[in-house]
């Protein structure tokens, strides 16, 4: 019992370099952001304490609200751990949004198409797999373009988002439209419902929370193992940190560049599949909008670490749910919520820079006698 605690403590100590600020700074920064946000709320004539009260209440106030938060956190976490892989591999993936859509649409089409042909358990597994693969393909395209032709992946992933969005609209209003909509003549662009056999089990009905939350947590653990305990992850990180040295070491840089973006897309695709199987049970226009982008922030907030992304996703899930409540209770314009999120991001990112400088300073002081400026040629290359 004690040894377990000790181990945890040494581990935390190692991660933070013995500096509690490493863990505390983001929380303090988030609080300061809320203080800054209070001025926006005041300017709108709202009582910030009431507003934040509503937010807290909305996110954590009841069991039901807490479940809501967890439901929202699930796709965020899946996207975020994918982002961790890409960023660690030196690829800036802005395309999670599109990868998520494609994953969800493919999972929908597949599960509806094979609903009667396959036993339920197999259909579930294959539907998840198809979602992953579709997202992976959407990530692989910019990945290969980068690896082969050095096409900037930031631009290509953004463009792939646009393609995915248009594709989604086309499919939902044409080939994949719910036949019932056509019959009724309403033609609302949405797919038929997924077969009930692939619906994710609800954990606490009537809440929407579903077993997908466990899938996400397990996936985070798997990604952690992949990145830090396998040769594959080692190479992804090596290429992400120093392409030249990786080349000298005989690592195939283009392959691992493409791979990290492919895996990243796969996890975003999985997020889409899980979301459609767990929450909406059909594809609709406006499905899961924004998760792909928020997931990037979640990953950064979690220090690009899959395990760090778990609390980070929870926090951002809470913010989304709490914001809904705040909007309903106080009639705050929804743009305010986006501004608040932006403030939190700015404050947290700044605090991160502050902590890094502080750590560097501490290291420099500790190491001053052994690592003096005299040796800077080593690092100036």
């Amino acid at each position: 019992m004690n040894s377990w605690l000790d181990r945890l403590r040494t581990r935390l100590n190692r991660l933070s370099g013995g500096d509690p600020m490493v863990a505390l700074a983001p929380l303090i920064a988030a609080l300061l952001a809320l203080v800054a946000g209070a001025f926006i709320l005041l300017a709108l004539g709202k009582n910030p304490i009431e507003a934040y009260g509503a937010m807290l209440e909305g996110a954590f106030g009841s069991e039901r609200n807490l479940f809501r938060t967890l439901t929202r956190a699930t796709p965020l976490l899946l996207v975020a751990i994918g982002i961790c892989i890409a960023f660690r591999g030196g690829m800036i993936n802005i395309g999670a949004e599109g990868q998520l859509f494609v994953g969800a649409v493919s999972a929908t089409a597949f599960s509806i198409g094979f609903a009667d042909a396959l036993p339920g358990w197999l259909l579930v597994i294959l539907t998840l797999l198809i979602g992953f693969l579709a997202g992976a393909v959407w990530g692989a395209v910019p990945g290969v373009l980068k690896a082969r032709f050095n096409v900037n992946e930031i631009l290509s992933t953004v463009m792939m988002n646009e393609i995915a969005i248009q594709l989604l609209i086309f499919l939902l209003s044409g080939p994949m439209i719910d036949p019932a909509e056509v019959e009724r003549g309403t033609r609302i662009p949405q797919s038929a419902p997924l077969p009930e056999s692939v619906w994710m089990a609800r954990l606490a009905p009537p809440s929407q929370i579903h077993v997908g939350v466990f899938i996400a947590i397990i996936a985070a653990a798997v990604v952690y193992v992949l990145l830090w305990r396998t040769t594959l992850g080692y190479r992804i990180r090596a290429v992400g940190q120093n392409r030249d040295a990786s080349r000298y070491a005989g690592i195939s840089v283009p392959f691992y560049l493409a791979l990290s973006l492919t895996l990243s897309g796969g996890l975003a695709g999985l997020a889409g599949a899980v979301e459609v199987m767990g929450v909406s049970h059909r594809m609709v226009e406006g499905f899961a909008v924004g998760y792909g982008f928020s997931g990037i922030v979640v990953a950064l907030f979690g220090r690009l670490h899959p395990i760090g992304s778990i609390p980070s996703a929870f926090l951002f899930g809470a913010m989304l749910v709490g914001a809904d409540k705040m909007q309903r209770d106080l009639q705050v314009p929804s743009a305010t919520i986006i501004a608040l999120q932006g403030l939190i991001v700015i404050f947290v990112v700044s605090s991160d820079i502050w902590v890094r400088r502080r750590t560097a300073r501490r290291l420099a002081q500790q190491a001053a006698p052994t690592i003096s400026a005299a040796e800077a040629p080593a690092s100036s290359h």
Partner: protein, 515 residues
């Protein structure tokens, strides 16, 4: 004391600056242990020591960047307390850091004016420029106040730093390894400037670990080791060996013994190699050479004559236009880097941070850079961290790598220790052929000694070594045969017995070997 007490720059001279009993502790280390140090007007005082000896710490205390835990500082006999560099500047102490503190997109005058207090909050650049011209006149420092920093060479930027220090009233100027970033010509110019400043009554402190520079330049030499002053000696005829011994604490042998070993079969064969550089212009124009087991072949030459391209082509990072490369009798011309590594090639790249290591990766992670996928380090795709830790621990011990732990990011190690890490890693793979490019550049004396001895020992054990170095002393100390490269062609091959510095120098300048 008959000299005037103002300097040509118009500031008060510092006749003496004295540090007494300085103690500075950092967590776990005593960086300065009761250090006494003194510098006078009209003197260049060299502060010599290995990396980590405490030189920089001592100077940062004098410049007000650190506060001492114990001890006193006296300027012209009066005790002073510096709480920041601003305090030190106010008393006429300036410091020129190894990395220049200049804004690239501003002009010289703007950089000098940066951070200065002006009477009405208005920038009076014309006054600054006028004063800069005066100073550059007085000190013979050619500088255009209107030039942008990015337009200047490294040597010129350093001149800006010197003028900046003078402008701000520097009577005592500390130079932290000022030659590390300069070309040999720029070093000569710098020394002329410094000597002139000495004549004009400035007190100069010159931090270095390069023995010949210290000998060339200084009046007195203070040697530090492990946070203590070993001795302060006048620079009159003191031998480099003596200084080296004071620095390291024992005799240093930069030229390892060379037992006769039987030359083995050819391990690396290069034939008519033609390679282009990054601009697609010919870098190597038909190079042929052999390296046998148990010999070191040194490639001498001024940098930029094809050495880098030769190393990269053998390593598999650059494609040859034509020619042949054989490792142990088998062609590797079209082999991938990984295949060459597996065939027994090892490589110490010129740029250790860019090509040799991954800075944010730990010592342990860097130790397995090439063979991380092989047993015992990995079983299928999963790492065996126990095996990696044992391997790393053994290499740290065997190669005497100084690191706080195996988990320390490599970028936090000193240059010499990073180089030892690379050497340890490459040799642990038991190579057939080792390419060593500038293996001791920028590392301190004891690491240089260690690396050279290790290379020699590998040669004695039958490794074929291709040594590429700009340091002719190094080439002469290690090589069995010397190949001189000039503009991508071999000017000649010389056996070590016949090697003569003057002849090599001529060949390096493009003269072909006389038959």
């Amino acid at each position: 004391m008959s000299q005037p007490t103002t300097l040509p720059s118009g500031h008060t001279r510092i006749d003496s600056a004295e540090m007494r009993g300085i103690v500075k502790r950092f967590p776990g280390v005593l960086a300065n242990d009761h250090v006494n140090f003194e510098v006078r007007a009209g003197e260049i005082h060299a502060l010599l020591g290995e990396n980590g000896a405490g030189k920089s710490t001592l100077m940062k205390i004098l410049y007000g960047l650190y506060q001492p835990d114990e001890g006193q500082i006296f300027i012209n006999g009066e005790e002073v307390h510096f709480h920041s560099p601003a305090d030190a500047l106010a008393r006429g102490i300036g410091m020129i850091h190894q990395h220049f503190m200049l804004v690239q997109t501003l002009t010289v005058a703007e950089n000098v004016a940066l951070g200065m207090k002006t009477p009405h909050g208005l920038l009076e650049l014309d006054g600054v420029k006028k004063r800069l011209r005066e100073l550059s006149e007085i000190y013979g420092l050619k500088i255009d106040p209107d030039a942008y920093i990015w337009q200047l060479s490294v040597g010129e930027q350093q001149r800006v730093e010197i003028v900046k220090a003078l402008y701000r009233g520097g009577a005592l100027i500390i130079l932290d390894e000022p030659t590390a970033v300069l070309t040999p010509q720029e070093v000569d110019e710098l020394f002329v400037t410094l000597k002139q400043m000495r004549e004009q009554g400035h007190a100069l402190i010159f931090i270095s670990h390069k023995l010949h520079e210290v000998q060339d330049l200084s009046d007195r030499i203070t040697v530090m080791r492990d946070g203590r002053v070993v001795d302060t000696v006048p620079n009159d005829g003191i031998e480099q060996r003596t200084l080296a011994r004071m620095m390291v604490g024992r005799d240093v042998q930069l030229q390892p013994d060379r037992p006769e070993v039987e030359r083995g079969p050819v391990r690396l064969r290069v034939r008519d190699l033609v390679v282009n550089n990054d601009q697609d212009l010919p870098a190597l124009r038909g190079i042929s050479l052999d390296v046998h087991a148990g010999e070191i072949v040194g490639i001498a030459g001024v940098s930029g004559n094809g050495q880098r391209e030769l190393a990269e082509t053998i390593a598999g990072l650059r494609e040859a236009v034509s020619g042949e490369i054989e490792l142990d009798g088998k062609s590797i011309l079209h082999a991938s880097v990984a295949e060459r590594l597996r065939a027994g090639l090892a490589f110490i790249p010129e740029e250790r941070m860019r090509h040799g290591t991954i800075g944010v990766f730990s010592v342990a992670e860097n130790m397995i850079l090439q063979n991380h996928g092989d047993p015992p380090f990995a079983r299928s795709v999963f790492f065996d961290f126990g095996a990696i830790a044992r391997h790393t621990g053994e290499l740290i011990r065997r190669f005497n790598i100084k690191t706080p732990s195996q988990e320390t990011p490599v970028k936090n190690l000193s240059g010499g220790n990073i180089q030892k890490l690379i050497l340890a890693r490459e040799l642990s793979r038991q190579p057939v052929v080792l390419i060593a490019a500038q293996p001791t550049r920028g590392v301190d004396i004891s690491a240089t000694e260690y690396i050279r001895h290790t290379l020699m020992q590998q040669r004695n054990e039958g490794v074929a070594i291709l040594l590429i170095s700009e340091d002719l002393d190094e080439i002469l100390a290690l090589s069995d045969r010397i190949v001189v490269l000039y503009e991508g062609q071999i000017m000649g091959v010389v056996d070590r017995e016949d090697a003569d510095v003057e002849m090599l120098g001529l060949m390096m300048a493009g003269a072909r070997q006389q038959a």
